[in-house]
Structure formats: C-alpha cells, structure tokens
C-alpha cells in the first residue's frame, strides 16, 4: 500500500497573479522513482504549477502534499529542505558567479561537507564539461553548459524530487538529446522527476506518465506510451496530422 502512495500530490490547485487566474484546479500526482511529464503550450501554466509546488507562489485554493504532508503552507526555502529541488525556467544560473560557486549554492541547505564533495564529484562525472570550467564565470558558458550547470546545481541539494522547467528550451536538438539522456540517468540513480516541457516528443519518450495542460487545466492524463499515440496529443503537440 505504501508503495502506491504518491511522493508528491497536487490537489485542485488554483493560483492567481493578481486577478489573473493562471491555474484553474490542477490535480496531479508523482510516485517514487517515476519520470512524470507535464506538457502544454506556451502560457498553459506549466511554470506556474512548478513554482506553486516549490513554494515560490502561494495557491489561493488547493493543496500540495509531499509524502502525505501538506507543504503549500511552507516557505520556498523550507520546501527545498524537504528534498524538492527545481531547475528553473531559463536556467536561472547566477551568471556572475563561477561554476563552482553556483554548484556550491545548490548545496546551500546542506552542511555535510564530505557528502557535498561526493556530490560535487558526481555532478562533475555527469557533466565533465563543468569540471573543466569550474573556475569560469557562469554567464560565459554556452547555453548547453548553462543548462548542465542548472541541473547540476539542483542535484547538489541531493534532492528526492527534481522539478525541471523546460530544460530543452533554446538548445540545439543534439544537445537536447544529451540532456534528456542525463535526465534518464539521474532518474535511474533514484531521483523522482517532474518534467515540464513544450517539447512533448522528447518528454514523452523518457517519461512514465504524462499530463497535458491547457489554459490552466489538466485536459488529459495517461501513460507516456498512450499519450504518444493519442490523436489529440499528436495533433496539438507532436506536429502530426
């Protein structure tokens, strides 16, 4: 029974920007070890959903549960400590700090120096490029490297759940593929992933399940395999007629 309980559960979430009703009752769940993807067009509310989960926005209605504990009342920094890390939209790296300083800030909530160094090695083995450039100012990295840094930084918190907001954005197709390979690797190493994407094709190819978001509402949910062959999804998001 315990295995079936979701590690992250969002129930009837309503989030507003002033009086703009951005999320109109989102319900979704993520189980341990899964990759769940949230796909949808620009402006559908994907970023808003992630920001509400990690506490950067407060819902007006609805709840977020982590392992059965209501977390939507917590502050963003407290939620990070629960093991929920975010790779923000547009990477959100600290562009004037060095690669190493960025990674160090990823581990801000931790004090176990030895384990932090282990994780740093792990990030460097996942992204050797970052190791070469650890002293470099992050703003001078290429787009792909910045995305690696954003992911690496989130991993430095040793998260249980990784929320990723459009990691493929603005990257050359070949780099997108390698980033998604890495996401799979990270997941296999035991991190649960909630992946937000506009690139539905790629997202569904690595996900277990998916939700389709449209103007603040979930309009479809299924296994990734089923979504890939769903007519509506194919038309709207996979560019197939």
């Amino acid at each position: 029974m315990e295995n079936n309980a979701p590690v992250l559960e969002v129930i009837n979430l309503h989030t507003y920007y002033g009086n703009i009703h951005a999320l109109k009752g989102i319900t979704l769940s993520v189980h341990k070890g899964e990759i769940v993807t949230l796909i949808g067009a620009n402006g559908a509310g994907k970023t808003t959903t992630l920001k509400t989960i990690c506490g950067l926005l407060k819902p007006r209605l609805g709840e977020v549960y982590h392992e059965g504990r209501m977390i939507n009342v917590l502050k963003a920094h407290e939620i990070v400590s629960l093991g929920i890390s975010m790779v923000p939209e547009g990477r959100g790296i600290f562009s004037r700090l060095t690669v190493l300083e960025n990674l160090d800030l990823g581990a801000y909530i931790r004090t176990d120096r030895v384990a932090i160094n282990e994780d740093l090695d792990r990030v460097f083995s996942l992204f050797p490029r970052l190791k070469e450039r650890q002293k470099q100012v992050a703003g001078t990295l290429s787009g792909g490297e910045q995305q690696m840094l954003a992911i690496g930084r989130a991993l430095m918190a040793r998260p249980q759940i990784l929320l990723m907001d459009e990691p493929s954005m603005g990257l050359a197709p070949i780099l997108v593929e390698s980033i998604f390979e890495t996401i799979k690797t990270i997941n296999q190493e035991g991190v649960t992933v909630l992946l937000v994407e506009q690139n539905a094709l790629m997202a569904l190819s690595i996900a277990n399940r998916g939700y389709v978001l449209q103007t603040g509402q979930i309009v479809l949910q299924d296994t990734a395999a089923n979504l890939q062959i769903n007519e509506m999804v194919q038309k709207a998001y996979l560019g197939m007629e």
């Binding site: 920094h77 400590s81 959100g92 600290f94 562009s95 700090l97 801000y108 450039r133 001078t140 930084r153």
Partner: protein, 531 residues
C-alpha cells in the same frame, strides 16, 4: 566612423565637465601655483601660468587618448577623428565656459557669493590674463590640437610596438622578481600574506603616534567614513540592498551614546562610556532589523526611496519638539562623555584615532568572515537573483535582515566614535548628505572591495579636508566625480575581483565566450557523427 565620433564626444564631454567643475572649485589655481613653484623658477617666469597651460595640455592629450584608444586604433583616420572630436568638444565646452566667466569679470560682477574660489583675479588667471574672446579661442585651439595629438599618440602607442614593449617589460619584471632569491623565499614561505597583513597592522598602529593632532583628527574623520563604508559595503555591495537611509543607524548609535553619557538629557540615567557604546551598537543593529522588516518585500528603486525616507524620519524625529526633552531638538546633545581605561581618559585625538583604527580592524575581520561564510554566499546569490536564491533554499528574509543588522552595527559604531570624539551630536550631523557621502565612498572606491573603501574615504573625505578650499563645493565635486567615475571607471578605483568581472563583462570574457560556443558546436558535431 560613427563610433569614432561618438567616442570622441563622450570623452570630450566628460573632460569638459571635469575641467569646468574642477576649475570652479579652484583646483587649477591651487595646483598651478604648487606645480609652478616646483617646476619653474618663480622669479623669472610666470610660473603658475605655464603650469596651468601644461596641466590643460596634458588633460587635452588624455582626452584624445581616451577617445581614440578603445575604438579607432586599427586605422589612422579613426584614431585621429576620435582624438580631434574629443579635443574639439572639450575645447567648445571650456571655451564657452571661459566666455561666461570672462563676461562676469568684464561687467564687474563678483560671483564669489556663489563660488568662493572665483575671485576676479582667479578668473583672469584662468583666462591666461587675456580678453575673454581671445582666451576662449586659445582654449579651443589648445584642446583641439592636444586632442588630435592624443589621438595620434593613442595610435602610435596603442596596438603596435609600444603595447608589446610594455607587455614584454611587464613579463621581464615578473621574471626578474620571481628569479630573485627573496621572492622565491617569500613565495615558498606559506605565511607571506600573514606577514604582509601583520606589517600593515603594525604600520596602522604606529600611525597615530607619528602624526600630529591635526592629522590624527583628520584621519579620524576619514576612519569613521571607512567604518561606515565597510558597513554599507555589506548592505549594498554584498547583499545588493540599495539603502539610502544609512545615516539613520549612525544617528541611532551617536544619539544613544549621547543620551546615556551626557549629563544634559537624562541626568538621572547616566552610565559609563563602554556599556553605553555597547548598548548603542546593539540598538543600532536592532534598528536595522526594525527598519528592515517593512522593506523586505521591496526591490531595487523602491527600496532606495523608502530607506531614504527612513533616514529623513530619524533626522526629523531627533530634531522635533516632540522629543526635544531627550534629544535637545535642533541644539543636539552636548557634553557627551568619552571613554577611559584604568582611570586614564582616552579623549584626545590620538586615542580616538587608535579606537577608530581598532574598530576598522574589527569591521574588516567581520566583513572577511562573512564574505567566506554561508551567509556571505547567500548575500551574493540574493543580489544576483532573489527568486532563484529562494529556490536554492536561502531564507531571503533573515538573510536580508542580517545584512541590515550588520551594516547598521558598523554605522552605529561609527556614530558612537564620532559623537564621543566631538562630545556633541546634532540633527544636522545626521542629514541625507551623510548617506550619500558614504555611498559615494564605496562607489568611488569600488563596490564590494575593502581597499576600495579606504581609497574612496580618503579621496572623498581626506582630500577635501587637506585642500580646505574644496570643502564648500564638496557636493559639486561629488557630482562631477561620480559622473566621471561612471564614464571612466564604472567599477570604482579599486574594484573587487567580482565587480571587475561584472562591469567589464562585455570586454573581458568575450574571447572565452566565443571559444565556449565553438567548443559547444564542435562537441555537438562530434556527438552527431558518433551516432
């Protein structure tokens, strides 16, 4: 060509403004007189006048070089156009200015009421003892030719041999330095930097004994600004919170120690200096937190405006009739007590300078400890991107409050030392200008840099004290200096490494950036081919 003209104009305007403002505060008169005695034989020649022309010519040359250096050095025409435009525009500005001041003289108007240095004699001196129109034309020609010469110089010195020679010289010097036994020994010795620090500390401690009373007092004033500069460096430079009401904490520190030690106000509640000073610092820090609370959610410009308001509120409060029983209203608090140790009174300027130096050392120690700590990293992250830093688990509320509290404690300490040294604190010691002065100290010195604070405080508080004439027009000089700084050296005189990177982002890592992109593309291609 457009770039060349633009560079010339920018340089010309900057130099024109500098020259006009520095002349208004009597800079050229003073410096020419000094230089004249030094360089020329004062009896046989109009020494000061020669010096004036020399200084102006050098400035014109500099304007031309500055204009030509960044853009036009690959082509002769470009460099010359930049230099000429810089000279022309400087000449035009200063020429018009001489016409105006010459006009005042011709009409017999005395403008000393507004600008104390601009006596008719001083103006005639600035006009080279010539009629205004001739003088204006001379200025125009002087700057145009020197600007052009500057462009020429930039071209000859810029890219080619001289730059290379310069680099060679530099590497030779490093080689020589590294090969000398002392250097080798020093670099092998792990404690070199501690020895250097130790030497600086010993020198600093010897300073007050070796100086007279005037210098002890002057350096004490500079020191109080260093102290406050270090504080605002944390708030603005590290945490990125633009606080324009910083003087409020200085005032709280000063008034607290005043109220607690002066027999004048709360006579039944008079305590010794040391506990009073301690209380004052604590209360200043608490005030920092209290004022921090309501502005936590504000960012950028709003924060600046609201904090500015706070600073003024404190000043108005201590001035007001409402509190005048405690604060003495406009009269301020008198007879503030000074410290004593083992029965020896420490109220002379030398003792105060010692205390100020010790306070600065303490502040530097605290700053360095914070810089390398978790909190320091959180401040920097918060300054970079507040939202993302929250997502990293940084509690931006407490982190901001801590920055306010630490900064306020430094200012409070500055206030304590200032008030007890002067044995007086009044509302006008706590006006908006103090905040602006302190901010100017760190901007001029270089935001976020500790040596920069010293340099800034010395340039802005020490120099005017030395050249008393400047005092009246400090504000004007500040304005000019700040404008010029923004143009010429936006990162400050002695910037921190980080700041240097930020400000010259577009210049410095460009090559690296290109390289990175190239490697990225290469890697992508490689991956493609291995598939």
């Amino acid at each position: 060509m457009g770039d060349n003209i633009r560079a010339g104009l920018i340089s010309g305007i900057a130099f024109g403004v500098i020259i006009i403002i520095t002349s208004l505060i009597g800079f050229f008169g003073t410096v020419s007189a000094l230089l004249g005695e030094f360089l020329f034989d004062p009896k046989t020649q109009p020494a000061a006048l020669y010096s004036l022309v020399l200084i102006l010519a050098l400035l014109g040359l500099w304007a031309g070089i500055r204009a030509a250096k960044p853009v036009g050095t690959d082509r002769w025409s470009g460099a010359l156009v930049s230099g000429a435009v810089a000279g022309l525009s400087t000449g035009l500005f200063v020429g018009i200015y001489t016409l105006i001041i010459g006009g005042f003289n011709a009409r017999g108007l005395d403008i000393r009421g507004y600008l104390a240095q601009m006596s008719p004699d001083a103006i005639r001196f600035l006009l080279f003892q010539l009629p205004p129109a001739t003088a204006a034309l001379s200025y125009f020609l002087l700057f145009t030719t020197t600007g052009l010469a500057g462009g020429f110089l930039a071209k000859t010195l810029g890219r080619g041999r001289l730059k290379k020679a310069n680099q060679q010289l530099k590497s030779k010097i490093t080689e020589l330095w590294e090969s000398t036994s002392v250097a080798v020994w020093l670099s092998k010795f792990p404690y070199t930097q501690y020895i250097v620090y130790g030497a600086i500390i010993i020198l600093a401690l010897l300073l007050p004994i070796s100086l007279g009373q005037y210098w002890n007092f002057t350096l004490g004033t500079v020191g109080v600004y260093v102290l406050m500069g270090l504080g605002i460096n944390i708030v603005v430079g590290m945490a990125g919170l633009l606080d324009l009401g910083y003087v409020a904490f200085f005032a709280v520190g000063a008034y607290t120690v005043g109220l607690l030690t002066s027999p004048q106000q709360l006579s039944q509640f008079q305590i010794d200096f040391w506990p009073a000073a301690f209380l004052a610092i604590v209360i200043a820090a608490i005030t920092g937190i209290i004022l921090g609370f309501p502005v936590l959610r504000l960012r950028g410009d709003y924060l600046a405006i609201v904090t500015l308001g706070f600073g003024e509120i404190i000043r108005i409060l201590v001035r007001s009739d409402l509190l005048s029983d405690f604060t003495g209203g406009p009269q301020g608090v008198r007879q503030i007590d000074g410290p004593s140790l083992f029965g020896i009174s420490l109220t002379n300027d030398r003792a105060y300078l010692y205390m100020i130096i010790l306070a600065i050392m303490l502040a530097i120690f605290v700053t360095i400890r914070f810089k390398d700590s978790r909190v320091g990293r959180a401040w920097v992250a918060m300054r970079e991107d507040e939202t993302v830093s929250q997502a990293m688990g940084i509690n931006t509320y407490t982190t901001k409050l801590l920055a306010f509290a630490v900064g306020a404690a430094f200012a409070g300490l500055g206030g304590v030392l200032f008030a007890s040294r002067n044995q007086y604190i009044g509302p006008e010691d706590a006006n908006l200008l103090v905040s602006i002065n302190v901010l100017a100290v760190v901007i001029v010195g270089g935001m976020g840099s500790i040596p920069g604070v010293f340099l800034g405080a010395f340039v802005l508080k020490g120099l005017p004290e030395i050249m008393r004439q400047l005092q009246d027009y400090r504000i004007l000089a500040f304005g000019a200096l700040l404008v010029v700084m923004m143009i010429v050296r936006p990162e400050g005189l002695w910037p921190s490494q980080r700041r240097r990177l930020e400000m010259h982002e577009e210049e410095l890592p460009l090559e690296e950036l290109e390289e990175t992109e190239a490697i990225g593309a290469l890697e992508a291609a490689l991956e493609e081919s291995t598939k």
